[in-house]
Symmetry: C2
Subunit: 335 residues, 2 copies
């Protein structure tokens, strides 16, 4: 049987193989993704973001167990942007799998960023697409949410959780609270630690400030800036995920948010944001890939050398490279 058919029936080995092909950029991967796309759109995608040390991985584990207790299938994509340098993702999967080992209703994959800048967003979206096609009902996408790219990845979900922990420099977190605005649900994890009241107070204060209309420019993307929907008031939940405390309430809150999205018609807004973001990332990746396939490395190196000696400026170098390539021809060739 064909890999696609097996994947659609939920065959784990087929799924694992397809994911590897996507991650490695195998030529077949594109074809698989293309053929699977029409089978997607059924999963509820949950982004989980927060600073390192907030216990996101353990929280995701506890949440997955909670879903499993309700016989809901769960896919987990853990994005770790710092891994490429040391291969840190190696450890992740094994630790994570411990509590969920042998359960075919869960599929966990840690991803390091092997590709170019920006490539992580595309690869993550593609792995989510595979899990969706394979029939997983909830997909948790976990990122280390301090970087711009990682926040964007977590944001491209139906429901976004922002995780904090007590005592991690609350003032700093409140100031750098930009990521809070993307939250549908706040989680204060490690809620048995000192300072939980203070963290929650800081969070509430930041929330009140952010209710004020903002006059600052939002990021310009293909996607229209998402207007925060104030008819959904993001709840603040406490969890102690090492003991699975609060996981049931968190699952309920996610399900309520999903129901809210459908009833209010905002589901379609989220889908629009997700589609536009995905298209944008893919366009960027595709453009640079097609250009690089055409440019001889020696030509690039020659520009770099002239830049180092300041005999050419980068803008002239870019023009020279773009003039040397024929992106149009590449487009035609790839059609």
């Amino acid at each position: 049987m064909d890999l696609i058919d097996r994947l659609l029936r939920g065959d784990r080995r087929a799924l694992a193989r397809a994911i590897s092909q996507v991650e490695n950029g195998d030529p077949q991967a594109r074809d698989i993704l293309r053929r699977l796309y029409s089978y997607t759109g059924r999963a509820h995608i949950i982004g989980v973001t927060g600073a390192p040390g907030s216990g996101k991985s353990t929280l995701v584990n506890a949440l997955a167990q909670e879903y499993r207790a309700h016989r809901i299938t769960v896919g987990v994509v853990a994005v770790d942007p710092t891994s490429p340098f040391t291969g840190g993702a190696l450890l992740g999967d094994r630790v994570r799998m411990r509590d969920l080992a042998g359960d075919t209703g869960v599929f966990i994959r840690s991803m390091a960023s092997r590709g170019c800048l920006g490539g992580l967003a595309r690869t993550t979206a593609e792995v989510v697409l595979l899990l969706d096609a394979a029939g997983f009902q909830r997909i948790l996408v976990e990122t280390v949410g301090v970087g711009q790219a990682e926040v964007e990845i977590a944001r491209a979900a139906h429901t976004t959780l922002v995780v904090q922990a007590p005592g991690m420099g609350d003032e700093v977190q409140a100031i750098k609270a930009g990521i809070l605005e993307i939250a549908d649900i706040f989680v204060i994890n490690k809620a048995d630690q000192d300072g939980v009241e203070r963290t929650e107070a800081a969070l509430r204060m930041t929330l009140e400030v952010s209710e004020l209309p903002s006059h600052h420019g939002r990021r310009q993307t293909i996607a229209k800036a998402q207007v925060p929907s104030r008819d959904w008031i993001p709840p603040i939940l406490r969890t102690i995920s090492t003991r699975r405390e609060g996981a049931a309430a968190l699952m309920d809150a996610i399900e309520q948010h999903a129901a809210y999205l459908h009833e209010s018609g905002r589901w379609r807004e989220r889908e629009h944001l997700r589609a536009a973001f995905g298209l944008q990332e893919l366009l960027r990746e595709e453009l640079i890939a097609r250009l690089m396939a055409q440019l001889p490395p020696e030509l690039i190196e020659a520009q770099v050398q002239q830049m180092i000696t300041r005999t050419i400026d980068p803008y002239t170098a870019v023009n020279a490279l773009l003039a040397a390539a024929s992106p149009l021809a590449a487009v035609e060739a790839n059609k």
Copy 2:
């Protein structure tokens, strides 16, 4: 007198205006950058990265004061990727300027990321270029270093500092220690806090592990993967930057690293990495900008709508958009 001439003479208002033009993407900005490029390459660029809460801003302030005590001029670029959502960078400049107000030997600029994904790296490089041309001798580039993009930005420096603070989840930091590999100097800031010994021990352990040869793939970029130079052993320094303690030793370490780079010939390697990274980012930005200038928004929206209903897959959508555009014509038009 022309803006360029004034900037080259160190006129602060000319510099501020040029920076604003770069940030706003004014049409003149490109021309200014192009004409200034041959005057750059004199500054020593110092990347400062680390998790939120490690006190990077205060450390950068203390370091700037130390340099000023030695009559060395300093430019500071503070990159805050989370700001766009709330305009958090507003606060930054004022707090920062307090200790250095009125000193014309310092120039500080906080940057939020208003552009598209990846645009932050390009804009940061351009602001550094302006500060370099304006004659600042040391340029500190501070990023919140957990995200992939932000780590790349800090890495595109001559000397990279990685800042940690005690008690911020040492195990987690050690596991997610990928960013440590990019460090030329480690700083344990807030060294008067509990757990400083433990943090340093965890750091030393991670360092020893990373001395082993790595068989994991590195990121593929235009730039050749930078081979860590083991003849420079990254020192671990302790600072209490609120009291400026350790700032003098840190400045000495940076200057020693600069001397090492020049003597060992590795300065040129760093310049190569910097130039290649800059060229790559500019190429990406330029490609997508030229494409977007050509595509009617309705056409993009039509693809997104079809993606939402799953009547078209993203790969087919990208092909359709690329076929509709004529990047080659755009290249010619912009030359």
